[in-house]
Each structure stands twice: as structure tokens, then as C-alpha cells.
Amino acid sequence: MTRENEIHLDAGLVFFGKMSASISHDIKNCLAIINENAGLLEDLCVGASQGIPLKPDHLQAVSAKIKKQVRRANNITTHMNHFAHSIDKPTQYVDLVGSIDLMCALGERSAALQNVTLQAQLPDHAVKVFTAPYLLNHIVWLCLEMALRAIGDSHTLLLTIDETKEVALIVFKPVKILPDAKGRLFHRQVEADTLLKELGASVTAGATGEELILTIPYHISP
């Protein structure tokens, strides 16, 4: 196994672990709220057995809160399922819109911890690319991490997709990139370089120095 392959495999596993940890943390939060509401129902039952009347409105409110958390946990597990299946095939046709939506959903928590909201303004049509889905998710994640580190004072990170004849562009803004950071944009540059090479992709700073642009070919090289 070459050094490059080793980096690729290790980094891929670390990325999977990081996503799994974040997702399980979100699910735990949902379970904690469901658990407390179930506990509240028990408390109300104990009260009722001691003659404190049950209030239907209160019970309905508790039920609504449980349902809300079940919906939330269901969304999280759906995202987790999509993410986990992105590793099924080394290459396949992927809708970039769906990929960006998925990575925004998975990145929501990391962003929120920095008081940042992710906002995806995406085309209303599919943007199909033939690529390596898992590697694509990984490089989008590294771009998201990098963008969150370099967002400056803004509390919203905007993600858009532009299409040209030759390539699709995923744009992250505002991202303040220092002029001397060229070639060393990422925290884990070797990992990013390996992914970019495999995907035939590139990352550049926009003309204004306030955007990060991930360029993805419509068809990965065989």
C-alpha cells in the first residue's frame, strides 16, 4: 500500500468516525428530551394517583414534544443512512444538490457550536456529476470546516452551486482567505490534496478573497 493510499484510508475512517460521533450526539439530545417527557408523564400519573387531576392540554403538549423529537431523530437517522450509503460504490452519478444538502445537515451542529448557521441556496434542478460520492462528501466537509474557521464575524455561511459547461462550482462565503495562504488552505492539507487529486477537483479562493470555491468535474477521470 502506498503512503498516499494509507493517508486516504486513515483520513476516510477518521471522517466516518467524526460524522458518526456527531450524529450520535444529536440523537442522544433527542433521546434525553423524550426521556424527560416520559418521566414527566410518570410524574403526572403519580400525581393523578394522589388525586391531582390530569389536564388534557398538558398531556397533549407533552405528546407533541415527544412527537417533535421523534421526527427530529428520524431526520437525523435518515441523513446518517444517506451518508453511510455514500460509501457503497466507489463511483456513481450523484446529485450535487443532494450532497450539499446532506453535508449542511450533518454540519449544522459544528456550525451551531460556533454560532454560525449554514444556509444552502441551491438550484431547483438536480446537478448530476459522475464522481466518488464518499470522497466528495469528505472534501465538502473539509471545505466546510475550513470555511467555518475563516468566516470572520459573519454568523451565516452561504453555500451555492454554480454550473459552467465544463465543471460545477460549490461556493462557500464569506470566507476570509489570507493572500499568503495559497496552497495551504486546509488544516489537513495532505488529506485535502489526496482527495482533490482523486476527484479531479480543485479548491481556490474567489477573486474577492472572500469566497472558497470547490470545483468538481462533471465526470471523474477513470
Binding site: A21, N29, I34, N35, E36, L113
Partner: protein
Amino acid sequence: MAEKILLVDDEEDFLEVMAERMRARGFDVTTSSTASEALEMIEKESYDAVILDFMMPGMDGFETLKSIKERRPESQIILLTGFATIEKGVEAMKLGATDFVEKPADLEKLTEKIKAAKTKKMLIVEKQTEQNIKKLIQRFGF
């Protein structure tokens, strides 16, 4: 006298239901959904225990813990976390956390921990008062 609790978590639904259940158990509960607001409250008020979510937007658990201890060294802080690792637990204890509880928490166990925290705080405050009195006696030669 009811234990005075500050409950800090960015999950509003969690705060609401926990506060309701704890109030039903006779605790005097105040809630806050941000670390910065909680710090302001701790500066103004003294609480028997602070139940603090470990992962809050804007300020991580360790940072918040340190800031609380700087403001009120006698504070008894029980950290709530999605996943408790031994390393994190040890680090939190070194920074002065009273306890470390994993979510979903068992409210009865948490209640015991709060009562223990209040006792510990009372002992610290008593000791501080005793030391202050000793200093006064030495100073004025009573």
C-alpha cells in the same frame, strides 16, 4: 429551604421539561439557554448547583466551567453530556466540576447529586466564614 439550581442547556425543550420536573420535586429552578447569559446570572446570583450542558454554542464546556469557577470558586457544577469519556471527566474534575452526568440523565440520581452538591457548597461556605472570623479575631486581638 429549596435547593437553588441554575440549569444551562441550548436545547429549549430539554430545559423546559427538566425545569418542570425539578420544580415538582421542590427545587428552585432558573434556566438559561446560552453560556454567556448563564455567566451573567451567576455573577448576580448564588446557586446551590449549576447543571451545565457540556457542548454549548459559542463557548465549550471547559471554557464555561473555568469562567464560572473564576467568578464563584465555591460553585458546584454538574456537567451534563451526550457522551462521557474518562478523559473528559478527569479534565472536568481537575477544573473543579463536582460531577459528570451522561444524557439521558436519571432524574432521581441527578437529584441526589444536587443535594450532595448543596451540602458540599454549604461546607465550603462555612469553612470560608470560619476562616474569615479567625482572621478578624487575629486582626483585632479578641
